[in-house]
Symmetry: none
Subunit: 206 residues, 4 copies
DNA sequence: AATGAATGAGGATTCATTCAT
DNA sequence: GATGAATGAATCCTCATTCAT
């Protein structure tokens, strides 16, 4: 339901495919907001409600709660991959994008803890896969002489460490702490910002 | 109304008030285990069950779930304080004890994230208080020239960072990662171990 | 209770019987307060706590919750009986004492509803017995020509009606309404007050 | 709750919705019965059980226990209002309908005690609102010279008095006592019956 | 495909009652 | 006799998940 502001949508009897895609996107967006506000344990009903769809639709698109979380985090990871795929990418820049997402989303932090989140939230191998993609994106630009290139695990341990430092009620404070964390690690980081200017807008729905 | 089923049958023995202290200790111990396995959001009923007591006993000893968590974490913090109070204490040694507890207890990690725990578990100012005690214990031995002594927040940010790195299914792996984290921070840490061999005994309550 | 406790007890260390009597009185007093504040469904533990005794003591003196209530109300009824036994007693005077108790105690009101209370609070035939004693005390002074003497049930119906009217947060308001109720019934009532000046003081305990 | 979806019946009826309406009615009916038997403090689970639905259904339809009670009592009050709105209504007739409901429902009695209900059941201002509606319905037909028109509060005090008198295990006995109460008040009352012949029957649940 | 109602298990919390000391 | 701890049933309330329409 939820009157859609899209002008071309005037007929609820419009064919399903398009509606389905829109619903899926609405669910992912709603989940992102809900996760940001309440964490990964938030009730699924809240996500469906904020997306403006019935509970059943959520289950049609996502088999379980882990799938929802994965879909949300997938977008974050994709941005990092895109940042890594940019022509002028370097490790500092990619770390900056990564850090931005760390400061943005409590859920995203969890996934980088790999099993910290897995315990409670039932995000199983999904998390490992996402974490692996992040690692590949970073490592593609990791020079041999880089501070995090000596030991095999250092790169992702450092990422996890920054995740640990990123706490606080406001994004600004979280960013300040993230920057301090990288400084303590003696690692140079580019500007902390999303990859594109594709602002993922948060409609103050509901 | 009181429809009581006339418990003329044997009733599970009431061992008297002597057992109260033992029960409290059992609850704290059970809570420690349960928290380590499932995190601070674990059901209180699981704690009572593992302690081998009824639900009511838990509520007799602890008014709310925050009180349970506090009782558990309080012991960890106390060990760190004791380590700091030892005659030959230095910052590396205290950090070693701290790190041991970080590798030991998922719950303890949460509390050092300061607000990471606050979110769901309703451990609000408790966490801040415990975290403050840890900070004081550490700062008492922080030399002026120490790597973590330049910026005001660096000390606890570093602690949070190590907490972030401490993941993995086994304590050994978590310790390995913790050590790697301190190395990346270029901070010297003493042996990772509990303060004393003081078996976590029964506090002489009552 | 057979033993008359002389008020001038000089030996507080004289245990046993005397302590038991004091505890019983404390329980009744506490129950009166608790009932006035929370109604007849208040937890028994609250009564024991306010009386400053253990839970077990309550069960030693009273087999069930109805016995507690009865003990409390018994005192109210006794005052009414004493008022009726006074040399210069008349129906108006006894009604005044009765009304005072109605305005004083929500519990007492319930008992005069006879079965309204019985339903929930498990005050079974106790209530009937108490109600019967009140009726006898009143009827002893009911002149043949009295407004409430025509029909058999009129007397106690009128009492129940006044009980129904007695609502409100303060005793003053309840008294005002009680007086209005008697006026509507066209029944003359003496001064609304306890029988003796034996103020049953309410220590603001706890 | 209750987004007012315009109940235009153009669409092929969604039967899920139809069941919902039936369930809601069943819940209200069950609540009425349970309240009559056990009073307003009856467990909500008993209501759900008698309605033949799960607990969750009750919470879907009513956010809290006060909402359930309000839904039930609202119907009673509505009947009284309808009786007052009838073309040939007079005060005696409306009082008769009111009295019928008093004899019918212990819960309804509570609400007219105004604060008697407020105590335990958490039906605070709801009760006041319902009581106010009853008063308005009555007062609309109260002639200036009526016995209950002299003092401002007399009307509702009288209603409360009758409520107080209405006790007893059977409706018949309660009615007899109610009639006696009105007689003692010297107030003429019409036939004690529900407003319409609209028997509030048992919804053909399952 | 969407809807949103229903189910029912799970967890929190409160108390009446018993009983060892 | 008193104490107060323990038990465990009962109730409240929340969601994850299924399913009829």
């Amino acid at each position: 339901m939820t009157r859609q502001s899209t002008p071309d949508e005037r007929r609820p009897a419009n064919d399903g495919r398009r509606v389905a895609a829109r619903n899926r996107a609405a669910l992912v967006g709603a989940a992102r907001e809900i996760y940001a506000e309440y964490g990964l344990d938030a009730p699924l009903s809240a996500i469906a409600r904020r997306a403006g769809v019935g509970q059943g639709v959520l289950y049609r698109h996502f088999p379980d709660r882990a799938a929802v979380a994965t879909a949300v985090l997938d977008e974050n990871v994709r941005q990092i991959e895109q940042a890594a795929a940019a022509p002028d990418a370097d490790i500092a820049g990619v770390l900056g994008v990564l850090t931005w997402h760390q400061t943005q989303s409590a859920a995203f932090i969890s996934v980088l803890h790999i099993d910290g989140a897995a315990g409670r939230s039932g995000i199983p191998e999904y998390a490992a896969a996402l974490s692996g993609r992040v690692e590949r994106a970073l490592r593609a630009h990791l020079p041999d002489g880089h501070r995090l290139a000596t030991e095999k695990d250092d790169l992702m341990i450092a990422v996890a460490m920054v995740s640990g430092a990123v706490t606080g009620p406001t994004r600004e404070q979280r960013e300040r702490r993230a920057v301090a964390a990288w400084r303590l690690l003696d690692v140079e980081v580019g500007p902390v910002r999303p990859f594109d200017d594709e602002q993922r807008g948060q409609p103050p729905l509901d």
